[in-house]
């Protein structure tokens, strides 16, 4: 589904990603872990198509298409979803209205008819129950005055509504207490199936207690330096990132 080959990316001339290789297949959950400044969020941003990031080398194929050739909204249309680390606020725009616009724009991209109000409400009710989000939150302005937990729950709700092929969770656990993490993770787990995939980007292992990965990759200094099964996350938690630094020093 997603195939990243030798991806290099800069921001303001500074090299951040220095040759990433990653294959994700339908039904899989991958976790990318790494210390601050290793390039985790940059990878998420480059995949979603944020401006200011310049890809200097490498290829990314997503659902049979050259991802890097697509605009951010086309990537969304193809089924790529990014749950933001810092979801933005848009005062005066109701969350429901925003999501309805998003759902119908994506449908338009796929050549499907727009959902009418009744069909949209039905879908919304169904997904609200699934990710445990309250109606009152959705009638408020998008993310305005939401708590950290509410913002992240809203991200997962949008994911439920858009039903992406690949969801990238960028530090979704940051700033959340353990109860909030559990709620958010439950939502993500309910949305998993054999046809979609999840890429979890995180600093800490704790989120992976709830969203259990098939593979864990350690990102360090712009490269994936270690990959392994979920147990690798425990090893990192136990030893800290220093052991990665030490190992890489030895190799260097």
């Amino acid at each position: 589904m997603l195939s990243i080959k030798n991806l290099h990316a800069n921001i303001d001339e500074k090299k951040i990603l220095k040759g990433i290789n990653l294959e994700i297949k339908p039904g899989e959950v991958h976790a990318i872990m790494g210390p601050n400044g290793s390039g985790k969020s940059t990878l998420a941003s480059v995949l979603a198509g944020r401006e200011h990031y310049e890809v200097t080398e490498g290829t990314v194929e997503f659902a049979g298409k050259d991802l890097l050739e697509l605009s951010p909204e086309e990537r969304a249309g193809e089924g790529l979803f990014l749950a933001f680390q810092y979801p933005v606020e848009i005062p005066g725009l109701s969350t429901t209205n925003f999501i309805k616009t998003a759902v119908n724009e994506v449908r338009k991209y796929r050549g499907e008819e727009a959902l009418d109000a009744v069909a949209f409400l039905k879908l919304m009710k169904e997904k609200m129950a699934m990710v445990n989000i309250d109606q009152s939150l959705l009638s408020r302005s998008l993310n305005e005055g939401f708590s950290g937990g509410e913002k992240k729950r809203n991200e997962v709700f949008q994911m439920a509504m858009l039903q992406p092929k690949l969801a990238i969770l960028d530090e979704t656990d940051s700033g959340l207490d353990i109860d909030a993490i559990r709620i958010v993770a439950n939502g993500v787990n309910k949305l998993r199936n054999k046809d979609n995939a999840v890429l979890v980007v995180t600093h800490y292992q704790r989120l992976l207690d709830y969203i259990v990965p098939d593979y864990v990759h350690v990102l360090y200094n712009g490269r994936i330096v270690k990959s392994g099964p979920k147990e690798l996350a425990f090893e990192l938690e136990e030893k800290g990132y220093d052991f990665i630094r030490d190992e890489n020093k030895v190799e260097a």
Partner: protein, 481 residues
């Protein structure tokens, strides 16, 4: 991909879809302004002597006045001798009913989305259609007359209801008030008149649609609206003009009078031609709008959506004379490309326990300048006056300007005046967030600005809110992304 800034800065003029010209023969005065011009206009309208005298008095006063320069706008000096002050589409014969209106004119209004056919018209909206210097027709007049409501052109009101016009014209905006209102008083050629009798709740929206068509003309309309005791009326005006590379002057005066327990809701969707992306052409919009809450417990509410004109100079105001009267001003002003807007309100608290509320939302894009200018005055007898003002500015790109000039004068120490102001930019983070959800940049900008302006848009009558939302998006098309 490192072009985000230049993309935000990029400004492209959207198509101004009202920019067409109607080919119709016009009956015009020669360009220039002198006493003869005024006599010509007055004679064309077959006005009584007192009206002509009033006009001439205004003209003499105007000659002694200087064009104001305090507003935060720049423009080349207007040559008042180049302007045509009277231009009326030639109609074959006198029109006795709406069915007899020249088909070409009827088509013009159809293209603007205004049907003069009562059957096809949105039920609940009566229209007075003004083209250049004259009103060409008013719909639903008979139905309104059954309730005692007078809704007609001001020219007709001068003929049919001289006592009302004589009593109220210039009573809120005196001829000496300011340079542009004095000019208007001298040369006004048409406009709407409305009287709602005691205790009547006007059952439909009243609306005037102003259209400038002829080249080289100025439009000087005059609107006078009186809501007698305990009555209610909601009034809406809209305006458009053809695309021309000259600047045309529009100097209107609107006067509102609300008696005891009366309520007037006055909404404007202003979409005069704004000029092209290099700032060539466009309407100079110098307008004086003022209402008086004459009686106790009366209320006047101004709502304006200002998207057009190359220059807007406009301060819809309320004189809160009656005790417990309420004044409101809700405004969205959008400037793009080279547009300049200096707009706001004056709330003059004179009576006791008067309240006012100001919500101003300025949106600037391109290299435009958008200023809020407002005065809250609490007079020495205005015990317990309350005002709340909120002025928010939204910037698109970094070459435009937003300015706020709030003036406050409080002469009674029981008054409470609050002012809040914010300035924000549409962030690339907000746009990217929308993009990531599959929403393209144009749509994202529309969502963000409509969110920003929502508090004001909510004040518009339902029939027009949707149109106004679209208009906001169109005005800013191409300004981001």
């Amino acid at each position: 991909m490192n072009n985000e800034l230049s993309a935000i800065e990029k400004t492209v003029l959207s198509d101004y879809k009202y920019g067409f010209v109607t080919e119709i023969e016009a009956d015009e005065a020669p360009p220039g302004l002198n006493e003869d011009t005024i006599r010509f206009i007055s004679a064309k309208k077959n006005e009584p002597e007192w009206m002509l005298e009033w006009r001439l008095k205004a003209y003499k006063h105007w000659l002694k006045m200087e064009e104001p320069t305090w507003a935060n706008i720049k423009y080349d000096k207007i040559n008042y001798q180049d302007i045509i002050y009277y231009s009326a589409p030639k109609q074959k014969k006198k029109v006795n009913s709406l069915d007899e209106i020249d088909p070409e004119l009827r088509k013009t209004f159809e293209r603007l989305g205004i049907s003069l056919d009562e059957q096809k018209r949105l039920s609940g909206v009566a229209i007075d259609a003004v083209i250049d210097s004259v009103s060409i027709g008013t719909t639903f007049k008979e139905q309104l007359a059954e309730l005692g409501i007078i809704f007609c052109s001001i020219s007709e009101a001068i003929q049919e209801h001289p006592e009302l016009v004589k009593k109220y014209i210039g009573s809120v905006v005196p001829i000496t008030d300011n340079y542009f209102s004095a000019l208007n008083s001298a040369v006004f050629s048409d406009g709407s008149f409305c009287y709602i009798p005691k205790g009547v709740r006007c059952p439909m929206e009243l609306s005037t649609y102003f259209r400038i068509n002829a080249e080289g003309t100025g439009q000087f309309e005059r609107t006078l609206l009186i809501a007698d005791e305990g009555s209610y009326v909601s009034y809406l005006e809209g305006c458009t003009a053809p695309i021309r590379d000259e600047n045309q002057l529009h100097a209107a005066v609107v006067e509102l009078i609300a008696m005891e327990n009366a309520e007037i809701k006055y909404s404007t969707v202003q979409n005069w031609y704004p000029g092209d992306k290099d700032g060539v052409g466009g309407i100079y919009n110098f307008v004086t709008k003022r209402g008086i809450c004459q009686g106790a417990h009366s209320k006047i509410s101004w709502t304006q959506v200002e998207t057009g004109s190359s220059i807007t100079w406009k301060y819809p105001s309320v004189i809160l004379k009656g005790d417990y009267s309420v004044g409101e001003f809700y405004s969205v002003a959008v400037t793009n490309n080279h547009q300049q807007a200096d707009t706001g309100t004056k709330m003059m608290h004179l009576g006791k326990n008067t309240r006012s509320r100001i919500v101003s939302k300025g949106i600037s894009a391109g290299v435009s300048n958008n200023s809020y200018r407002g005065l809250v005055h609490v007079g020495k007898n205005a015990a317990n006056a309350r005002n709340f003002s909120q002025c928010d500015s939204l910037l698109l790109g970094d070459k435009c300007g937003a300015h706020t000039f709030p003036y406050i004068e409080v002469k009674n120490n029981t008054g409470v005046v609050e002012h809040e102001a914010t300035t924000s930019k549409i962030g690339e983070d907000q746009i990217f967030y929308c993009n990531q959800r599959g929403i393209d940049t144009e749509t994202a900008v529309a969502l963000i600005i409509n969110g920003f302006a929502k508090e004001v848009m909510n004040q518009l009558p339902m029939e027009f809110a949707v149109e106004a939302q679209k208009l906001l998006a169109i005005s800013l098309e191409g300004s981001v992304g």
